[in-house]
Symmetry: C2
Subunit: 114 residues, 2 copies
Amino acid sequence: MVDCVFCRIVKKEIPSTVVYEDDDIIAFNDINPVAPVHILIVPKTHLKNLSDVSEEHAPLLGKMLLVASKLAEEKGISEKGFRTVINNGPEGGQIVMHLHMHLIGGKQLGHKMG
Amino acid sequence: MVDCVFCRIVKKEIPSTVVYEDDDIIAFNDINPVAPVHILIVPKTHLKNLSDVSEEHAPLLGKMLLVASKLAEEKGISEKGFRTVINNGPEGGQIVMHLHMHLIGGKQLGHKMG
C-alpha cells in the first residue's frame, strides 16, 4: 500500500530502529514508547488487522508471537515480564491500519487492558 | 498441572462459559470482564506464558490469534474493533500462570497499553 506508513518502513522509505527482520516480519522501536521496551512487530505483507486474516496466515501470526518471545528474551524482560497487544479497528484503538503487535515491558505494567 | 486453574477448566473440573473449543484450544468468558466482550483464549497444554514457547509452538500460537479473529467476527466486533492482550510474568500483570490471550471489545477501548 503506497500510503501505508508501515509498508514504507518495510521498504525502508521511512527510517526506523530495526531490532529484528526476516523474510516475513520486521520489528522496530515504537517512536512513542509507553515503557522502556516498546517494539512493534509487523508483518511485511499488508494486512489491515486481525479482521483481515484467514487460515493461511496462521504461520505468520504464530511467528509474530514467537518473535515477541525472542525479543523479550533479548531485551532481558522475559522473566520479569512483558505484554503483547494487538489493537484492531477504531474501538480497539488501532492508529496505523497495518497489522502490528506491541511488545511492551521494562517496568511494572498497569492492570488496565480495556 | 494439578493446581493450575486453567488446566482444571480445560478438564472441566471447574465450570466456565465455553465459547470455542477444539483439540488444542479452549476459549471462555472472563469471570471479571473489563468490557462487554472479554474472552480468554487458552491452549489446552500447560505453557506458563510466552517465555515458555519455542518454534514447535508456532502453529498453536497462530491458531490462538486466528481464534481471536473468528470470535471477534462471531461477537459482531470485528469491524468496530477489539484488542488482544497477552500478559506475561509479574511485570506484565499475568495473574494465572497458564498462557492465555485476552480478547476484549464491545466498547471504545482506552489507549493505555502499559
